[in-house]
């Protein structure tokens, strides 16, 4: 009998990839994708097979390294959160242009409702943009099986396959039945050497091939067992990925609608034409942006038959739930308890004992000494410095934007322009911005709040640990303006003095408050004890 496990959707993807015979997983941590790589790092099979699983510096380096694995005929998985797709986009879009040799699956975990993110962009747009197949499982079992199938499809079509999860699939557990693992691929090279060299002369030829491939991709979606047409009543529903579950949840005694379950893209045309001809209306349920609804409506659709987020049947923003789907289906409301009037929000906060707290305590004090001081921050635990009691930061945009926004503001005449960035975010996307600042002698003060880990996602290794000073010096920050302090109450006087001196210095200075994350410290102490 095949083994069964109660696992997260993320872990089902991890096992699917391992059992598809990957030689490596390449990723930067990001909620809700982190657990995929972590699972492979802990897997005995991965260890036995020597599957590469170290964290990468960012999503772009991850994507490119995985493409290198594919180049030599082996299989690789790349994992990231949705905004990581923006970082990897250059490599991702062009990996469709080169095509793949060994199977290459790119997993993007989207976060509608922004549980732990700064936007709710839908990665399916990237898949369509790059003209690659997209898989969107609706159950953990499908997540396992479709990951395996994605590698086969990638090798068959010589294209990367985009696998898309949303938070509730990534972070929900169900029992998954496993199948016997496949062996990893042996080393081999693709016969067409020129398609890997995207000189215009090669790329033009290749682009036509990719466009030609679209017909076959569409056909495959139409015969795919992951897309199903289930005839029912005169009202039609297109249910994508986990939206299918919310639909069926509302029909415990059988669904009276005609349903097209979609888990593989490009969209299958035939069943959609059939539904358009046979149904009075088509309600599109998709967890994320109205990707399918927009395609079905187009700009000029006058039929009024296509309903969804754009037509107002469903909220335009936020994740799907059984409740908002129920409403969109036109089913009667349930009787509900009223919310309790005394309940107040409990926002997340920096941990007690966290070094970022000490940094903000003193930085707030020093910054107040200047009329126009602005603090540009970044993505990480320290973004919580925006909330009370600190209310310390003036911006948080994307990985690395603290340094470059401070530089731009300083270029334009702001003083003091202060950047606060974490160690992992600095190596992810801060280094190049710091080089810009050094080259133009921008008058900025960069605080790299170093807790020796990637803390927000649960304490993964940080690429810059032990290297931050040498990176800054190597880029050209002057030695006397790379300052290290230990963020603890007993050092407040020193930190205050160092911050004042470096703000007053006219040029690029870097202050590195360094103290281990309180969470990883607890874990390390526990490990040392046992």
């Amino acid at each position: 009998m095949n083994e069964k496990r109660l696992i997260l959707g993320d872990q089902a993807v991890a096992l699917g990839a391992l059992h598809a015979g990957i030689s490596g997983v390449y990723a930067y941590p990001g909620t809700p994708s982190t657990e995929i790589t972590e699972y492979i790092q802990q897997s005995p099979l991965a260890r036995e097979r020597g599957v590469y699983s170290d964290w990468c510096t960012n999503e772009k380096t991850a994507m490119e390294a995985a493409l290198g694995v594919s180049f030599i005929g082996k299989r690789a998985l790349v994992c990231m959160k949705h905004v990581g797709m923006n970082v990897a986009a250059d490599a991702f879009v062009n990996s469709a242009m080169t095509g793949t040799h060994g199977g290459l699956v790119v997993l993007a975990a989207d976060d509608p409702s922004m549980h732990s993110s700064q936007n709710e962009q839908d990665s399916r747009f990237y898949g369509k943009f790059a003209m690659v197949p997209i898989f969107e499982p609706s159950t953990q079992q499908e997540a396992y099986e479709m990951t395996r199938a994605a590698f086969d499809l990638s090798e068959k079509m010589k294209l990367p396959v985009l696998m898309r999860l949303t938070t509730r699939m990534a972070h929900s557990r169900a029992v998954v039945t496993l199948a016997p693992p496949r062996e990893p691929n042996a080393l081999s090279f693709s016969e067409d050497r020129s398609r890997w060299v995207l000189l215009p002369v090669n790329a033009r030829r290749r682009y036509i091939e990719v466009i030609e491939d679209q017909k076959e991709l569409r056909q495959q979606s139409e015969v795919s067992s992951y897309n199903r047409y289930l005839p029912g009543g005169p009202r039609g529903v297109v249910a994508c990925g986990i939206a299918y579950n919310y639909l069926m949840e509302n029909f415990p005694d059988g669904c009276d609608r005609t349903v097209l379950k979609v888990s593989q893209y490009p969209l299958p045309l035939e069943p959609l034409r059939k539904m358009m001809a046979e149904c009075e209306e088509i309600l599109v349920l998709e967890d994320g942006q109205p990707f399918v609804e927009d395609q079905l409506r187009g700009l000029l659709d006058e039929s009024g038959k296509i309903k969804g987020r754009m037509s107002g049947q469903l909220p335009r923003t936020g994740e799907l739930t059984p409740d908002n789907v129920r409403k969109a289906l036109g089913l009667p409301d349930r009787a509900l308890n009223a919310p309790c009037e005394y309940v107040v929000p409990r926002p997340p906060a920096l941990c007690a004992g966290c070094g970022h707290r000490d940094v903000y305590t003193i930085l707030n004090e020093v910054a107040k000494e200047y009329e126009n001081s602005k603090i540009f921050s970044d993505i990480g635990c320290y973004t919580l410095g925006a909330l009370p009691p600190f209310r310390a930061i003036d911006s948080c945009v994307d990985m690395g934007a603290s340094i470059t926004m401070a530089k731009g503001a300083a270029d334009g005449g702001l003083f003091p322009a202060i950047a606060v960035i974490g160690d992992s975010t600095f190596t992810h996307s801060g280094i190049t911005g710091l080089l810009d600042a050094v080259n133009s002698k921008a008058n900025i003060t960069v605080i790299i709040s170093d807790n020796l880990t990637t803390a927000m996602t649960g304490g993964q290794d940080s690429a810059g640990t032990g290297k931050l000073e040498s990176i800054c010096l190597g880029i050209g920050v002057e030695r006397e303006h790379v300052r290290v302090v230990v963020p603890m109450a007993k050092n407040y006087d020193e930190i205050r003095r160092v911050l004042r001196e470096e703000i007053e210095y006219s040029g690029v200075s870097v202050v590195i408050p360094r103290r281990e994350c309180i969470q990883t410290l607890k874990r390390h102490l526990k490990q040392a004890k046992s």
Partner: protein
């Protein structure tokens, strides 16, 4: 059989361990299980919840619909009340009565407990004190799980076996402590159910 459960608390209070144990016990009973968790930003001292669904029939949604929850199991009284619109009219609230105050505008404790006491089906245990007084301050969540076991419809033996399984790697002492915490909570929970005159 169907049990839709919301586990709630503050990041770090150990609701995922409770979920893992109930899930394991349900699997041993041959039930279908789905469990949606919260990872990421809110784990930093924010409110966290997990939707745990057990059923003898296949389960579709990972999230429980509003008004359909059979039991809210909460490590903290305000976090129990946060999910009231999700509770079914006949649903139970099993909550720790000890508050976790990490925000400046935490509501009046007496008011919260009063709202809870007026609910028709509630088990209110001071799991913090019970655990502390019995020398197991780190097993508060197991006390609460024990209290909830009075209304979960899963055999205590199955749950105890799952408790032991979860802590097995940490040695016999840790297993023993957590099983004792579970029994302590179960006794308190069962008493309250009896006192309220509810048959389970």
């Amino acid at each position: 059989m169907k049990r839709d459960i919301i586990l709630s608390g503050v990041g770090g209070q150990g609701i995922l361990s409770i979920a893992a144990i109930i899930g394991e016990a349900a699997l041993r009973k041959g039930l279908y299980v789905k469990q949606a968790e919260v990872h990421g930003m809110s784990q930093r001292g924010g409110d966290v919840q997990s939707n745990l669904r057990l059923s003898s029939e296949p389960i579709y949604s990972d999230l429980i619909p509003q008004g359909a929850t059979d039991a809210i199991i909460a490590m903290e009284p305000m976090e129990a009340l946060r999910y009231l619109p999700y509770l079914s009219p006949e649903g139970w609230i099993v909550t720790n009565s000890a508050t976790f105050v990490n925000i400046p505008n935490y509501p009046d404790e007496a008011q919260l407990l009063d709202v809870l006491r007026r609910r028709p089906h509630v088990i209110l245990v001071d799991a913090d004190t019970l655990a502390k007084d019995n020398g197991m301050p780190r097993a508060v969540n197991m006390v609460l799980l024990g209290a909830a076991s009075a209304i979960l419809g899963l055999d205590a033996e199955l749950l105890e076996a799952a408790v032991a399984g979860l802590f097995a790697a940490k040695g016999a002492d840790v297993v023993d402590m957590n099983v004792r915490a579970f029994r302590l909570g179960r006794e308190a929970g069962t008493q309250q159910v009896k006192k309220a005159g509810h048959a389970e």
